[in-house]
Structures are given as structure tokens and as C-alpha cells.
Amino acid sequence: MTTHLYCVLPTERHGDPPSDLRGIDGARVRSMAMGGLVAWISDAERGMPVSIDGVRAHDAVVEAALETGATPVPARFGQEFVSDEACRGALESYSDSVTTLLADMQGFVEMTLILTPSTRRMIRDLEPGIPAMIDSERSGAGREYMESLRAREAATGSVRRSLDSLDKRLTDATKDFVRRRAVHDQVTRLPLRTISHLVPRPDVANYKAAAFSVASTTELRFLVIGPRAPYSFCALGNSDTGLHGMKLAD
């Protein structure tokens, strides 16, 4: 068995996890106090596979921590240690950074905006690849193919400009409630954009209202996700970006 780390919380504002809280594979979540913080951990199988259920279970524990009223610093999924003591040692090796980050995050939550093309048809039109319906045996097929690629490139460029415009309108509308902003790496070649904002807890309702005051376009719409733990603001001063939760171990 190994020890799986979900998140850390400030000790002074937090007690034990709810007794019925279960983590990955139904494991009981327990706390481990150290210094000025407490870690929420559970047992886990060594080399635990990634699964959607596992990711959801990890996030559910972090969400439970957020519901205590304190703001947890979430760990990235898969932070696995050979024992509780090894987990404690890893946290102690980043003690100053974790303590500072934890203090900085108190009173804040993360809100996420996902900007996306509006319909399935638009995504299909933007999908790179060999255009269908071109008969390669027919005269002029090569030119038709190149023209279709140019048309697709133009459509992609148009959507990207619309994304920039919608991004700017959302940024302007929400700026009074945003303390920090993180734009996630593009993980697809399609024009989806994920923007995370660090927002004071009392301003969540105002933030949402401001975001929803911005109209979607025929091309694009957006989703507002949150409040959630600040996964996108967890840099510990090591080489990691901190965009996917705190990373202590490889």
C-alpha cells in the first residue's frame, strides 16, 4: 500500500475530514497534522491506475475540503508516497512554499471559463484532416484539396479571433473580481480555451453574474465552472508550473 495525497489545509481552521468521506477506491480519508497545516490522505494501491472514477474521487475529496470553509491547496492526482512518513517528508521539504501558498489562497477560490465553439458542426468543420467528399481520381482533385485546406485554415483563424474577442469581453466584465489569471495550455488543436481566475469567495456570485452578462455569439459559447479549489495556482517554486495542482513528487 501507498499513501495518496489529496490536499493540504491550514490547521487552525480545520478539523478531521468527515468520518464518512471516502477517496479513491473507497479508501477512508484521514488527516495528518504537521506544523501549521494538515494533509488529507488515504491508503492507495501501489501504481494506482488513472481512471475517470479515480480522478473524480480525488476531486470530490478536495471539494469536501473546500466545503470546510478553508481553501485547500490541492495535490495533483497521482501524488503517491511509500508511506505516511514519506508524504510528511515531501511536504516538509517544501514546507516554506506550501505554507506561503496555503496562506495566500485563504479566502479565494478558482473559477474557470471554458470558451468553445457552439456546435458539433463547427468542431467538425475545424477538425484538421483530409476533407471528405473529394474524389482523388477526378481532374482538379488536388486543387480542390488545397482549397479545402485553405478554407479550413480561414475558418480556424476566424474562430480564434472570435475567441480572443470573447476572452477580452469576459476579462473586462469580470476584472473587478479577479486577483489572478491563468490560461491553460492548449491541449487540443481545436480552438478551445480554458481560463482560470482566482476570485475572493464573497465575490463568486458577482463574478458569475458579470460573466453571464457577456453574451455568447453564434460561433462561441462559454461555460463557468466553480467555485473549486485553486488547482491552477499551485506553483511551489520548483520547476513545475503549478497549473494542475501541487506537485511534490514525480
Partner: protein, 79 residues
């Protein structure tokens, strides 16, 4: 189940799940299976056996690179 019409909005649930995976995972996670997140039947995210959360394009490129490396080393591509 019949496929959704092209003019339908993209499933919010799929977008939210994709976002969750992206927030919680990153490169370096060891996994034992393959999970593909698709939107509108287009594979957007692939979790494959080689420690990564990446775009399909990146995953395909890595496969191509690996095969080329194996060929240049005089090995046949693995199956």
C-alpha cells in the same frame, strides 16, 4: 442511440469532464489503460500508456517518432 445532430450544442458534461481531467492530471502520471475523451466524435484528449495527458496530435507524433527511432536503430516497429 442515434448520434446527436451537428447543430446540437457540444455536451456540457463532456466539456466539464475534459476540464476536470486537465485540471487534475498532467504529464508524469503513470496509467495502465487508455482513456479517450471525445467531443462530437472527435478525440480530443488521450491518456495512453506512456505517462502522458496530451492531445491526440501529440500522441500520434510520439508514436511516429518512436517508430522512426526503432527503424533507425535497426529494430522493427513494436506492435
Amino acid at each position: 442511440m442515434a448520434p446527436a445532430p451537428d447543430d446540437d450544442e457540444i455536451d456540457t458534461e463532456q466539456l466539464v469532464l475534459g476540464d476536470l481531467l486537465h485540471h487534475v492530471l498532467d504529464k508524469g502520471v503513470v496509467i495502465s489503460g487508455t482513456v479517450t475523451i471525445s467531443i462530437a466524435d472527435i478525440d480530443l484528449l488521450v491518456l495512453d500508456l506512456r505517462l502522458l495527458l496530451s492531445s491526440v496530435e501529440t500522441a500520434v507524433q510520439r508514436n511516429v517518432d518512436r517508430t522512426l527511432n526503432q527503424l533507425s536503430a535497426g529494430q522493427g516497429p513494436s506492435t
